[in-house]
Amino acid sequence: MKNPDVKILLRNFLIELAIYSLLVVIYVYVALRLLAEPLEALFDTNLVVYAFLGLILILAQAVLLEAVTTFIVSRLKLERYE
């Protein structure tokens, strides 16, 4: 089992979390707000498309957010908690 320097890992984690939070706040207020109206329209008109599109959006966002965190870590050359 690894015995990493906890202080460095914690510092790196906090830097990563701070940058990630900033990007996510911008993302929520810009990208997701834009999605609100089309999703509501779809919810009212076609639940089948809404259901499958919703699942695709969830999975696509999961991949996107994972890529963002990986990018932050590699770009800042932060030794990660792994």
């Binding site: 999703l39 959006l57 999961a62 792994e82």
Partner: protein
């Protein structure tokens, strides 16, 4: 931020924070976290019919991120995961039908709630007892700390059941086990999940360890893999009934995604018994929240 589908206004940072905590727990313990996210969403005014569906939707994305991390760490047994789905889905369906049948008898919510509390307390108490014993064995008998298990009797007996076809699960370190054992365990967890109306991570994770004999880290990762499929299926069925706010799920997922990664990677720094000991607290929290719901404190009956 106003969410037009549920017609509620909720601070998105609160939702992201709930997602973060649930993601952290999910990534580390391999549970969906509905026991925590559900009451939190309900408390901020999300209608009850949207709570379950939206929670399942965000759970799908969170489990996807966490399972990918666990897969990279070699903690996901895909073969076992797919086989478990074959038993879980019919189990959930039969469980849901049992509930429909029992609803006619009346006061079913109280009966299910009490059964849920009893099962959770039993799982929590047993896991705590076993993991503490395993940690003691590690200290006194110099056993390998990573996968020390103090309760192998049932696993051995389960493995003695040799009805063909026999399968091997190399990623879980299992040379040979009857396919029927895997299907029976997954059916049972699905049945309990269906009857109790929960995702089943609480039940599946310990069963994979104590009955099938899967190492703790692999049980966590494989459970998450199965949650992707079961929660994804649940998301679509609930969305078709108009019970999912996708926008809200996406906001929750922003926090859950990073929480799930941290939780998943953190398992590398903990041996199996320590993960199980920490896990044993969760069923008690779930039981406490259910008790609050039953007594009306969390919008129950």
């Amino acid at each position: 931020m106003h969410f037009p589908i549920t017609d509620v206004t909720v601070n998105p940072l609160f939702l992201a924070a709930v997602g973060f905590v649930v993601g952290l727990l999910g990534g580390f313990f391999g549970v969906g976290g509905g026991f925590l996210a559900g009451p939190m969403m309900f408390l901020v005014g999300v209608p009850m019919n949207f709570v379950v569906g939206t929670d399942l939707a965000h759970m799908t994305g969170k489990s996807f991120v966490a399972a990918r991390r666990h897969r990279a760490l070699g903690h996901v047994d895909l073969k076992l995961g797919f086989l478990m789905v074959l038993g879980t889905v019919p189990g959930v369906e039969v469980g849901a039908r049992i509930i429909e049948f029992l609803e006619d008898a009346g006061n079913i919510d109280l009966v299910v709630g009490v059964a849920y509390i009893v099962i959770l307390v039993a799982i929590g108490a047993f896991t705590a007892w076993e993991s503490l014993r395993a940690l003691q064995l590690v200290r006194t008998e110099a056993m390998d700390a990573r996968e020390a298990l103090a309760f192998r009797g049932v696993t051995r007996r389960v493995h003695l059941f040799r009805l063909p076809p026999l399968i091997s699960l190399p990623e879980s370190g299992i040379e040979s086990i009857s396919l029927w054992v895997v299907l029976a365990v997954s059916f049972l967890t699905g049945l309990l999940a269906g009857v109790l109306g929960v995702g089943g991570g609480f039940i599946r994770m310990p069963m994979l360890i104590y009955l099938v004999g899967v190492p703790t880290h692999v049980a966590v990762g494989t459970d998450l893999f199965e949650i992707i499929i079961s929660a994804g299926f649940g998301t679509v069925t609930h969305a078709l009934k108009g019970n999912v706010d996708v926008l809200m799920a996406l906001v929750m997922q922003t926090g859950a995604a990073i929480g799930a990664q941290i939780g998943a990677v953190s398992t590398r720094y903990f041996a199996g018994p320590r993960i199980r000991l920490l896990f044993s607290v969760l069923p008690f929290v779930g039981a406490g929240l259910t008790l609050l719901k039953l007594t009306g404190w969390l919008g129950g009956h």
